[in-house]
Each structure stands twice: as structure tokens, then as C-alpha cells.
Subunit: 355 residues, 2 copies
């Protein structure tokens, strides 16, 4: 943490990204305890915070390792000493394979794939590194994103991985885990075992469903949640947390009061991100919960003020983002608040590392 | 420009933000010529590119100065030697006023306001700097954002500015300039003159309407456009440019082909931004213009592939963003391409400077 003296939150320049560190710690501990009690491996997703300090806390509390969505994030985390990273993303192209190879020489790295054509490149990267690469099969269990489309396809790909020189079959990965995911995954596990394959890990993820992770066991053995560290409007709406658990808010200032029912805050789409959330509006103003952030332009949040909210010119407000993961990525640093004062700053170390 | 050797575009790590510098230069020159021929002051908005290199080109071509939406952007630009900056944003709070004062000692800075209560702070900042501060009145001529609501209110505020110690009335500012804006602004100008005030500048803005700026003259004397440097799906849809004028694309790779009609590209909302655009989809894939980027998750662009588009695994594509200004803000640097090769990099120097 950058060693600042304690600073009143009201004096932070807005828009500011502020962590309530007591809530963060409580969120991290509560989930780790759930995983420990359930016997579920916790592999938190760092895309939410992109912060070395938070990743280290997650590992110290007992996480199995971390999840990174991109190589660039993994590079930052390995450089910081995190030594077990899953990248559940198809990696292809010479540049990325060289970077993977370099990482593989420095830490335990595993990846996932959904296409047999990717294996040649991965095997070459492993060969260059002189280390075996663990490769899981990504399964599309309903998200409609990447992933093989059936348990049969998953088993077929698993078998090819298991036979490939330099690669080791790591298991099955999905995100999130909608209804039917456990059946899909169990069918894949059964199929793999019928082919004589061991299935070391079956990994699901997603904060909205995290408190139901136990119901996916014993099929699922590992869980990847990211947003649980901070929570946001989406995970509160999903019932995974209460507003009192939200550990990150964007502090903003009412910069204009052009009409009786319109306020402009100095946080727009470059601070709150336009990504959709539950219900109406682009974030929840904690001090004006009946009012609505109707739209965002780049540096303006357009608020329809509803009585009895006031939102006077110059008022400072705290906004719960719709989707905090994209918001962290817009800032260079978090302000770390404890007992109502900012006590330091943490860099968003992997901000912008989308490559 | 960072002195890289020429690099084939196909070897850039994706997602990458790439400028076609010949198109950029053509866009800058064409608009400057229009302004010169019309006798309109050009004050480009740097929020689009946040790049020192591009701001310098704009000034070298004849821009009157630049526009910054936030103090943080202005600080970067003044540090780089740009000496005339308009910040059309209400500035309030001790921190921002101190920063304004500091900037005012180093460059010609002007601001706008929409509320008389802001003047005390601005006057104090000017006093501290020992320099007069030029303050314009922001007018809401239909955007429904910040700004005074009537020409009468604009004149009233102008008169208070003109009488305030340390402040100089700068004129009227609006964004954009919808139908009726010219009448609003002319009424404000007439009212101000009737009170004995000079109106040095009347400033409108917006790339979509830029080629109609002449029609706002003689009321409007200055124009602030930002996106014109790059163009994007929105400004092409508005008729301000053709696809052949788009100077920035996000280069991406097809990272997964899970089904016959679904492709996943490695550019999601952390590379393309979720901000809405014209028509359907979250960007236009130049190599697959009949296909649709149906949704974005953080690191995945979900594409519905429509024949005859192919989008094979590993294909590289160029995506025209819906709204390029928020996309620049997600990257640390632009790759600069000329004649089909990357010849260097420019930092997005004011990226994240939303404070």
C-alpha cells in the first residue's frame, strides 16, 4: 500500500474508486470459509480487482491459486509471486504462445481449450518451456460463449489432450453453472473415466451462484468467483450479497443541478462503465436510492432526482456500480478506506491487460 | 513516437488499438480546412484520443487551442506544452480549484459554468494564480445535460461573471448544437449585448453535426469536435464520415468457433466498451460486415456469424468501435500504422484522467 497518511474520504478527488477494506476482508473470509467447509477448492478470479494486494490476500486465506482471464493479467500476477494460475481462455497465435511458454517456466500455469486445433500450439509452448502444460476442456453448459457443446465433445477433446506430448489433461471448466451444468459436467466426467482418463479438476464459477456451489458437488471440485471480493449491483440483485457487503463504490460529486429534477454527477461512462446491470440506471447512488442514473455520457452521470432525495450542488455521493469488474479497469488505483478514512492506495496493477 | 521498427500488423498482440495515420491526418486536415474557409475557430476536443501527439498535430494545423473535459486531461496537455485549453465543465471543490489555479499559472485556461454558486471558488482560484480566468456560460440547448436552461438565465449568469473580480466573461458554450441551438445562443448573445457585455466566443460542438457548423454562423464562432480525428460507427451513421475515413480500429483475433454460427473474438467490453452505438451490435467487423457482435462480456465479443462471412479460428479482424472515445480510454497505447505496417506507438497519455 502506498504509504499515505490517513485522508478524509471527503477530500479525495472525484471520481474516485474506494475500497472499504473491512468489507473486502469479510467477503474474502466468508467465501473461503464456505469453500473450506464444503471441501471445494477456491480459485478466485482476479479480473474483478486486477490487484496484487487483493490476490495475495486471497491466496493467504487459502485459495488454491488464482484465475486470470488474459495472459497479461497472469504476467502481472506471476511477476508479483503468485505461483498457480489458471487461464480459462483459448490461447493462440505466436505472440501469446511465446508468452505462455515464458510464464510456464516461472509458475504453475494451466489453460483451457475448446478446440482440438489449439493443441499443437500449446504443446509447442510446453516443449519450449521444458515443462508439461495442464490443459482443461472448456464446456459451454448454457452461457452461449466459448466451450464445447456436448459432454461427448468434451470427452473426445480430453482424450486428445491426454495423448498429446507435453500436455496433461486437467479436467473440465465451465462458466457459470446454470441449471443443467452439473449434468453436462458429470456426463463428461463419466465419459472421460470410461476412457480411462483421470479427471483432476472440475471447475465452475460465478459470484451470483456462489452460495449454491455446494449443490454442484461432488461433480464440481473447484470454484472460480471474482466479484465476490467487492460485490456490485448485479450480485446484490442476484441475492449473493446485501448492499452492506458492497466493498467498492465510486465516489462522485454533484457537479451540476441544471433543473429541479436533474442532477449531473462527475462520473460518466469513463468512470462507471456503460455495461448493463439489474433494474434501471447505471449504478445505485447510496445517498439517493430513489433517484436514477438515467444515462451516462463520458464524464457526466445524468441523474433523475426523485423526492425526497436532494442531491445539492457539491454533494459527494457513493455509487455502487452495475458491474464492478469493468469499473476497476477504468481506474489506475483504489483508495483503501478503513473506519471512514482513506489509509492508502493500491494500484489496479493489471488494468488494461486485455492482451 | 516510440521508435519501433516497422512491424507487420498481423503480428500485433490482440486486442490492439490501431491508428491508420494517413486517415487521421486527412481527417484533421479536412476539418481544419473547413474551419479556415468558414472563418470558424477550431478547438478540438482531446477526450477522443487523449494523445499528446495528436493534440500537437491539431494545434500545428491551426486549431485555436484544445478542449479537455476534465482537469486531469488538461494537466497532461499543458505539461506537454499545449498552452490554450478550454475545460467546459463545472469545477468545484478545493482540490479541483487548487489544480485549476496551478494550471492557470502555466497556460491560458478557460472554463464554463452553469451556476452562479461556482463563481466564488473560480474567483479565488484566479486570485491565487494572480491571473484573470475566462469563464463562459454553459447553455443546455437541448442535450438535457448540464447548462442553464434559457437565454435569459445565460445572460443573467454572464452579467455576474463580468462583474466578478478576477473573472472575465468568455462567452457561451453548448454541446452539441441541435435544432434550436442557434436561436437560443443568438438570444443569449443579443441579451448580453443589450446589457453592455462583449461576447468574445460562442462555442458549439459535436462531430455528427460538424459539416453543418457553417449554418450556425455567425452566431457560433468556435467549434469543438473530438471524434472527427478518428470517426467511429456513430459518426459514420450520422453521415459525418464514410467507413473509408475511420482511422482507428480494434484489431482482434477469432479465439473460439464453438458453433457453426457463433464466433468469439478476443475483444470484449474491456476492449470495445459497452457504450451503445447506431444499429445493432457492439462494433462493426470490417472483415465480416454481415455478422453481428451480439453481446460483450469482459474479454469475449460474441459474434453471430452470417453467411457468407466465415470468421475462422485464428482469423484476425478489425473492428470499428461504436464509440471510439471510450475505447481509447481502455488502452495504454495506440499502434500507429502506415502503409499497412505498424511504425510506432503513441501513448494514450491522458487515459483514465477522469478527475
Amino acid at each position: 500500500m502506498t504509504g499515505d497518511r490517513s485522508t478524509p474520504l471527503e477530500s479525495l478527488e472525484t471520481p474516485a474508486l474506494v475500497i472499504d477494506v473491512a468489507r473486502l476482508e469479510r467477503n474474502l473470509e466468508r467465501w473461503q470459509r464456505y469453500c473450506d467447509e464444503a471441501g471445494l477448492a477456491n480459485r478466485p478470479h482476479v479480473k474483478t480487482h486486477k490487484s496484487i494486494e487483493i490476490a495475495r490476500r486471497q491466496v493467504a486465506l487459502g485459495a488454491r491459486g488464482i484465475t486470470c482471464q488474459k495472459l497479461g493479467e497472469a504476467e502481472v500476477m506471476v511477476e508479483a509471486g503468485i505461483d498457480d494460475v489458471l487461464i480459462p481462455y483459448n490461447l493462440l497465435g505466436n505472440g501469446k504462445l511465446e508468452r505462455l511458454s515464458s510464464l510456464l517456466g516461472r509458475a504453475r500455469i494451466s489453460v483451457s481449450v475448446d478446440d482440438v486445433r489449439l493443441l499443437v500450439g500449446l504443446a509447442a509452448a510446453a516443449r519450449t518451456a521444458g515443462r508439461e502444460l495442464e490443459v482443461s476442456v472448456e464446456c459451454d453448459t448454457g452461457m452461449g460463449r466459448a466451450g464445447v457443446q456436448s459432454p461427448e465433445a468434451a470427452v473426445e477433446l480430453a482424450a486428445v489432450i491426454a495423448r498429446a506430448d507435453g500436455l496433461r489433461f486437467g479436467g473440465f471448466v465451465t462458466y457459470p453453472a446454470p441449471a443443467g451444468a452439473a449434468a453436462f459436467l458429470q456426463a463428461a466426467v463419466d465419459g472421460a473415466r470410461a476412457c480411462g482418463l483421470e479427471v483432476p479438476v472440475v471447475s465452475a464459477g460465478g459470484t451470483p451462484g456462489m452460495w449454491h456451489a455446494r449443490e454442484l458437488m461432488p461433480t464440481v471440485t473447484e470454484y472460480r468467483a471474482g466479484t465476490y471480493a467487492f460485490h456490485d449491483r448485479a450480485t446484490v440483485a442476484a441475492g449473493a450479497a446485501g448492499l452492506e457487503d458492497v466493498a467498492v463504490t465510486v465516489h462522485a460529486t454533484v457537479a451540476s443541478r441544471p433543473t429541479r429534477d436533474r442532477a449531473i454527477v462527475d462520473a460518466g461512462s469513463k468512470a462507471l462503465a456503460y455495461d448493463p446491470g439489474p433494474g434501471s440506471g447505471h449504478g445505485l447512488i447510496l445517498e439517493a436510492q430513489g433517484s436514477v442514473i438515467e444515462t451516462l455520457t463520458e464524464e457526466h452521470g445524468h441523474v433523475r432526482v426523485c423526492a425526497p432525495d436532494r442531491l445539492e450542488l457539491g454533494d459527494r455521493v457513493r455509487i455502487v456500480p452495475n458491474h464492478v469488474c469493468v469499473v476497476s479497469n477504468l481506474f489506475d488505483e483504489f483508495w483503501v478506506a478503513r473506519d471512514g478514512a482513506a489509509v492508502g492506495r493500491w494500484p489496479v496493477a493489471a488494468r488494461g491487460r486485455s492482451q
